[in-house]
């Protein structure tokens, strides 16, 4: 049993970052995630593990510091919230194009624009479809508890280095701000300089010895034939992620006629909505995607023939619902796929989710 604590989601994430052997954090303050950098600064990991923490002058600078540091083969990250992540989109595209591993945390707030500081899931498309320019994907993990804010840090780094690709933890202001019991991870040592060279010296800017060619971190290729080959290589990598990394939690789906599909905070709401619905005699299950890219479409395809329909519950205008529809379409079986959501920082109540289920999915059958 690891160390048990009662902690805030954002602070747990900061603690997990130190413990997982992260080498550097670069960030810029924005609500509702500022506790991440505040906690890191308070903990002063540079005195303990040697981890660097730096407050950048902007999100644009922060993501480029990440690009630079990630290029040297080390474990680095940033965190922000929706408007700040939009500013980082340029850098994330370069990081994906240069195939660098790193962790980006988005503690979402309502948009568009300056929007609100309340929790939201409106950045789903931005996170899973690309976000910046060019055809690229990030690995996207969606924690739905403070415990997962701890657990997904190490997993995100593991996946980022496995695929040499940016990974994102996509959460929201509710998970970031809430306090829950958490079992903290044990400390892992940071890689030594020798280990960095051994693991990543084939591509990282670790300094050119006579024994190898120079390493150049770049996303630039003016020869279109070569650039298309690069793109084909990226796409093959994304297909490999889709084949190997789909993660989800299926709760009471075995006998279910209707499935709520929800992640993060809205999955917590659906958990309660499912209990209410079951009390009413409705056979409802909850499918909680853990990876948003790759979207766990295999389980949707597996469930589709067995159920009457899916209700996507999101804190946005309906984004993930498109991925569910796509998965159902691929089965060539017709199933209803409906959506219910609230926007602008409003968290839906379990009651209105059950109402939506009855009206949108069940109602039409009667």
């Amino acid at each position: 049993m690891g160390e048990l604590r009662l902690m805030k989601g954002n602070e747990v994430l900061a603690e997990a970052v130190i413990r997982c052997g992260c080498d550097g954090y670069f960030g810029y303050p924005i609500t509702p995630q500022s506790e991440i950098m505040e906690k890191l600064m308070e903990r002063q990991p540079w005195t303990e593990t040697g981890m660097v923490v730096l407050q950048a002058e902007s999100e644009v600078a922060a993501i480029n510091m990440v690009y630079g540091a990630a290029g040297t083969g080390k474990k680095v990250m940033t965190s922000s919230s929706s408007p700040g992540v939009s500013l980082m989109a340029e850098g994330i595209s370069y990081i994906a194009g240069a195939e660098l591993p790193c962790l980006i945390v988005n503690v979402q707030r309502g948009g568009p624009g300056l929007g609100t500081i309340q929790p939201s899931q409106a950045d789903y498309f931005q996170s899973v479809k690309g976000g910046g320019h060019g055809d690229y994907k990030m690995l996207v993990l969606a924690p739905s508890s403070v415990q997962e804010m701890n657990d997904f840090v190490d997993l995100a780094f593991e996946l980022a280095f496995k695929y040499r690709n940016p990974a994102m933890i996509l959460t929201d202001g509710a998970i970031g701000q809430m306090m829950e019991k958490v079992e903290l991870s044990d400390y892992k040592k940071r890689w030594t300089e020798e280990e960095v060279v051994e693991k990543n010296g084939s591509w990282a800017t670790t300094g050119k010895p006579a024994s190898r060619q120079r390493n150049v971190i770049t996303s630039l290729e003016l020869d279109s034939d070569k650039m298309e080959q690069n793109n084909l290589r990226f796409q093959a990598k994304y297909r490999r992620m889709e084949a190997e990394e789909q993660r989800y939690e299926a709760i009471q789906c075995d006998d279910a006629e209707y499935i709520f599909v929800a992640y993060g905070t809205s999955a917590r709401v659906c958990q309660k909505a499912m209990e209410i619905a079951r009390d009413k005699g409705l056979k409802v299950g909850l499918l909680r995607p853990i990876t948003l890219f790759p979207f766990p479409k295999n389980i949707v395809k597996e469930l589709a023939p067995k159920v009457k329909g899916f209700l996507s519950v999101e804190m946005n205008a309906g984004q993930m619902v498109e991925d569910i529809k796509q998965a159902v379409y691929e089965t060539q079986i017709y199933r209803k796929v409906e959506f219910f959501g609230r926007m602008g920082g409003i968290i839906p109540s379990p009651g209105e989710v059950v109402d939506a289920l009855e009206q949108k999915l069940i109602g039409e059958e009667k």
Binding site: L54, N64, Y67, G68, G71, G91, T218, S219
Partner: protein, 263 residues
């Protein structure tokens, strides 16, 4: 008369191409200052034995392919972001010699924020700033450093300061920042100027190795293609027009933490 074969012998070698300068198709225009400054950086890294310690950050602009010329590890930056990238590299690898190589569109316009803050934090890096008063790669548009009345493709009637503001003196600006220890303005159009420029770059490199904060070397440069002049005429035009507005010399040579330039 001696036969030429008796003269061209290794023991008679007085000057050669640095081994770090890669044989690649030259993409710079004849007369361009980039080629000279690339050569100086390759020579210095070679002479100072820094190949294994060096990480260069290339900009967006004509020098975007700097990594094709000098045989060290490089990272290619997004437009203007080189100082932030160098910050990330240097902070996590303090034993490395990290430098940015940037043009005036990159450094003084889109990257003005990044360079000010990197210099103000005193990042332990060398900034090589090529100022030719124009955007070269995109076809000769106005840069922040374009002189008043200077004709570019976006100021076809000359730069009008009422419309476009004034030519920006980045080097004077960063000299005011306590994070910088060495700030100088050089040129590379004559043999003595090249030798002086090399000494300045060497001092900047040494400062990074001695962890003295940010060193900033501006090289007032020509862009024959953008200026639409022959190399010789461009050099003359630079001396007559650029040097009065961008005067050469050291603006600061001291210790980090001093906000005031020493001149």
């Amino acid at each position: 008369m001696m036969d030429i074969k008796e003269i061209v012998k290794p023991e008679n070698l007085v000057y050669g191409k640095s081994e770090l300068l890669i044989d690649t198709i030259m993409h710079y225009c004849p007369g361009c200052t980039h080629g000279v400054v690339h050569k100086l950086m390759a020579e210095l890294i070679d002479e100072m034995g820094l190949q294994e310690k060096s990480v260069g950050v290339a900009p967006v602009g004509c020098a975007v392919f700097a990594y094709n010329y000098i045989d060290i590890d490089w990272q290619e930056a997004a437009h203007g972001r080189a100082p932030a990238i160098a910050t990330g590299i240097s902070r996590l690898n303090p034993e490395k010699f990290v430098f940015t190589y940037q043009g005036d569109g990159d450094l003084a316009s889109i990257g003005a924020g990044e360079i000010i803050h990197a210099c103000n934090r005193g990042e332990n890096i060398l900034v090589v700033f090529i100022n030719n008063g124009i955007y070269g790669m995109t076809g000769g548009q106005m840069a922040p450093t374009t002189l008043e009345d200077m004709v570019t493709s976006t100021t076809p009637c000359g730069r009008d300061v009422d419309l476009n503001g004034y030519p920006l003196k980045m080097t004077e600006l960063v000299a005011q920042l306590p994070g910088t220890s060495y700030v100088t303005r050089q040129s590379a159009q004559t043999a003595p100027a090249v030798r002086k420029c090399k000494r300045a770059l060497k001092k900047g490199i040494r400062n990074v190795l001695d962890r003295k904060g940010t060193s900033f070397v501006e090289v007032v440069s020509t862009c024959n293609s953008g200026w639409k002049m022959s190399p010789a005429k461009a050099n003359k035009w630079m001396e007559e027009n650029m040097f009065p507005y961008y005067p050469l010399g050291d603006l600061k040579d001291g210790e980090k933490g001093n906000p005031v330039s020493n001149n």
